[in-house]
């Protein structure tokens, strides 16, 4: 019984440390190094941003399936403006604006019209993706169209010369967003109200919480997060492609769920989401270094998510 409870509580965490120890033993000189972890932090930065802001809606028991398309769309919007000769800041602002509008539209459908988040964001997923193709003409926008100041952002960072390390700007940006989301969710009345809605919408309503407005705005936040991730992606690959974000949605949701297995009552918490993202990123990095087939990695990831959830308190067996 005690054993089982321990697994329930710390299973995912123990698993995470197990993975780290495994890689450290098998890759003695290259895995557990500052450089490698900086690498990982940069590789996961885009997924992390989406997962962090996805946490915001999942706190209310909602979903946003459209984040991947939104990331693609935002990247395309910026790139098209760049290619038309607009300055970088205009491209970025426009992309963020698209993120807000798209997010508000999701929120409107979910909270005002009352469509299930699953259906509403399934619809907008298709719409945003269509827009991304439409605006770009299906093309990848690359080369001279992308200003080098924009793409060099993803390649630069803060040098710590004493340690011969460079902290990439992408990682710093992800950290910043982690802090913002953490601050919003854990340190503001707004965030605490979101948790109340997720925990017991009826109680929240009875306590006079403005459920509709809060849901609306939370979706807007998630939209902006997706747009930022799209910009980061475009900067990293110095190009924009109308399908670039398509892998983000499922992975972000998986990361939040992995995180939820670590929290006390199975509620989403952004710091645990970070751990969820890290698990996915470390697996990717370590298995690549061990020359493990990338397909086995995929099977493993699915299996680990299922295992973590099965043993956690999110899963309630009916007696």
């Amino acid at each position: 019984m005690k054993m089982l409870n321990l697994i329930k509580k710390y299973g995912t965490l123990i698993g995470f440390f197990g993975i780290i120890i495994f890689f450290t033993i098998n890759l003695p000189s290259t895995f557990l190094t500052a450089k490698n972890f900086i690498n990982i932090s940069q590789q996961i930065s885009m997924l992390a941003v989406v997962a962090f802001t996805m946490t915001v809606v999942m706190v209310m028991n909602d979903f946003d399936l459209s984040v991947g398309s939104m990331a693609s769309l935002a990247g395309i919007v910026a790139a098209v403006l760049f290619s038309m000769g607009y300055p970088i800041w205009i491209g970025i602002l426009a992309a963020l604006f698209v993120g807000i509008i798209g997010g508000l539209f999701n929120g409107f459908l979910v909270s005002i019209i009352g469509i299930l988040p699953f259906v509403a964001t399934l619809g907008t997923l298709t719409m945003f993706s269509g827009f991304a193709f439409l605006i770009s003409g299906g093309r990848t926008i690359f080369g001279r169209d992308i200003p080098s100041e924009f793409s060099s952002f993803a390649r630069s960072g803060i040098e710590i010369s004493s340690l011969d390390l460079k902290i990439p700007f992408l990682s710093i940006l992800a950290l910043l967003l982690l802090f913002i989301v953490w601050f919003i969710l854990e340190q503001t009345t707004y965030g605490r109200r979101l948790y109340a809605i997720g925990g017991n919408a009826e109680a929240s309503y009875l306590a006079g919480i403005k459920v509709k407005q809060l849901r609306l705005s939370a979706f807007a936040l998630t939209g902006v997060g997706a747009a930022i991730a799209g910009l980061m992606y475009s900067s990293r690959v110095a190009s924009s492609n109308p399908t670039q974000g398509s892998g983000l949605m499922l992975e972000a949701i998986a990361a939040v769920f992995l995180g939820m297995t670590m929290s006390e009552e199975g509620e989403p918490r952004v710091l645990y989401t970070l751990l969820g993202v890290l698990i996915l990123g470390v697996l990717d990095n370590g298995l690549t270094q061990m020359n493990v087939d990338s397909y086995i990695r995929e099977v493993l990831v699915g299996f680990i998510v299922i295992l973590a959830v099965a043993f956690s308190s999110i899963t309630k067996k009916r007696n």
Partner: protein
């Protein structure tokens, strides 16, 4: 605020009048008890005050000035505080945060939450209740129901800019232990001394007599009594709650109890109840009574195979009976009418027919798997007639029926297998007088055919009017069985209200 008056409050749900023309006057420094049977309209009145329900008609006066309530926020701003009947706890938030659910969080530098202040304010509020054992940083999920109730109560004591003037408690002690209740009473006394208005709802007679200054009794949405508590007695209150013509409500029991034993429950324990012992003969009605949440639901769970039997044994129709799921029970011809029909019995968006035949598909199938539409229609028609269901056609969705008729569908489902044992958990809840009578007649008909019946009801008159013997539960344990001929209302009430005190 010195005086709060509600005048001519009427509230109906579709055609059903939950409150008609109720007027009530609440004074500062007074604890006003609101009493009445289940469904009398107490909670409805409270929800109107809280701005959650919109009344059909009402005039509210605060210190003789007319005041309207349009929303829960407005009600809060008037300084009204509520402990609602359903425990509205967000279990994964901390105790402190639950207490701040309806208050703005204090801030540092106007931006970040001042957690220290929150913890301090909330533990102070708990201290005011005399509660020191609850850590306000703990998650509410970790607390007992009683402690959660204390948290909810304490949350009304949090100091904010509007000084609270009205405290409304809807059955706060239902889940509390004796000591916890005593603490609460002290707090209420404190509040009273400070000039607050207290509106207090409870089914527990002793505490009403102990702490209230005035009592108002509602019956079927009509105010039947308001008086000083000192002028009242327990008997008088009960009589006005239940109504004088109590006995007229119940049809004559005819037919004999057969000597064949339908079910013999021999010292059974499950994870949740202990020492259950009873026999039911063919045609006999066993009543189950006790304070709410004393194990009533768990008896049905045991009989239906929802909870496994841990100790003891049951024999049903002279055979060993060890159900592991409700499907075992239905197969043996044990039928069940669950307590909460919307949650536990009905598929609201599905048809009368589907709802009637749900447990009987296997019996009605052709070649084991084909749906037999003819039989389905026939059964639905027959049993809908039998329960005198008022409906347009059997493909009509259930939610279009009135509450009473919904309940009749649940009954016709239970009868459709011609059961040997019928389990009824609060079968007349939210059902009007006419439908009630229909249901009672059905029960009597069944007993004539030799069906055994287990009837749980928090409506005492129903238990007394319908049952041959009564099993009294106390703290999830069988307390005693009262045989029919000895039963009078005083006896039962004594067991009800006082058993816990001993």
């Amino acid at each position: 605020m010195k005086k709060l008056e509600l005048l001519n409050l009427t509230k109906s749900f579709s055609n059903f009048k939950a409150l008609s023309n109720v007027s009530i006057e609440l004074l500062s420094g007074e604890t006003h008890a609101l009493m009445g049977e289940n469904g009398a309209g107490k909670t409805t009145l409270i929800k109107v005050l809280a701005g959650i329900l919109k009344p059909d008609q009402m005039t509210m006066k605060i210190d003789n000035n007319i005041q309207n309530i349009y929303s829960s926020i407005q009600s809060k701003n008037l300084g009204f505080n509520f402990i609602h009947q359903e425990l509205n706890i967000v279990s994964y938030l901390s105790v402190a945060e639950n207490m701040f659910l309806n208050h703005p969080y204090p801030k540092k530098y106007k931006t970040i939450i001042d957690w220290n202040k929150i913890y301090k304010l909330s533990s102070n509020a708990l201290k005011e209740l005399g509660v020191t054992h609850i850590n306000v940083k703990k998650k509410c999920a970790k607390l007992s129901t009683g402690d959660q109730m204390l948290v909810k109560i304490a949350s009304c004591l949090i100091k904010t800019d509007t000084t609270p003037s009205l405290y409304v408690f809807d059955e706060p002690t239902a889940a509390l232990t004796l000591q916890e209740s005593e603490k609460l009473f002290k707090v209420i006394n404190n509040l009273k001394k400070r000039g607050a208005i207290i509106l207090y709802v409870s089914h527990r007679m002793n505490e009403i007599l102990e702490i209230s200054d005035k009592v108002t009794v509602l019956r079927d949405g009509i105010k039947v009594l308001t008086d000083k508590t000192s002028e009242l007695s327990k008997e008088k209150i009960i009589r006005s709650m239940v109504g004088k013509d109590l006995s007229d409500n119940f049809p004559e029991r005819t037919g004999n109890i057969n000597e064949n034993i339908v079910i013999d429950v021999n010292n059974v324990h499950t994870k949740y109840i202990r020492n259950i012992n009873f026999k039911i003969k063919a045609g006999e009605v066993l009543g189950i009574a006790g304070l709410s949440n004393s194990g009533q639901r768990e008896i049905f769970n045991m009989l239906m195979g929802v909870d496994n039997i841990a100790k003891g044994k049951i024999s049903f129709m002279d055979q060993k009976y060890e159900p592991t799921s409700p499907s075992d029970a239905w197969k043996k011809l044990i039928s069940f009418v669950p307590r909460e029909r919307r949650k536990e019995a009905l598929m609201l968006k599905m048809s009368v027919k589907s709802n009637t035949i749900t447990p009987h598909y296997s019996k009605l199938s052709k070649f084991f798997f084909l749906a037999n539409k003819k039989q389905e229609n026939l059964i639905t028609n027959n049993f809908s007639k039998k329960v005198q269901l008022k409906y347009e056609n059997m493909d009509q969705s259930i939610y279009q029926l009135s509450g009473g008729n919904q309940q009749k569908v649940v009954f016709s489902r239970a009868l459709a297998s011609n059961p040997k044992l019928l389990l009824l958990d609060e079968p007349t809840r939210g059902v009007d007088v006419g439908a009630k009578l229909d249901i009672y007649n059905l029960i009597i008909q069944l007993t004539k055919n030799g069906c055994g019946i287990v009837l749980n009801s928090s409506d005492l008159s129903e238990i007394m009017g319908m049952c041959d013997k009564i099993l009294i539960l106390k703290d999830h344990e069988q307390y005693k069985i009262l045989e029919n001929f000895k039963i009078n209302s005083q006896d039962v009430l004594a067991n009800f209200y006082e058993s816990k005190k001993q």
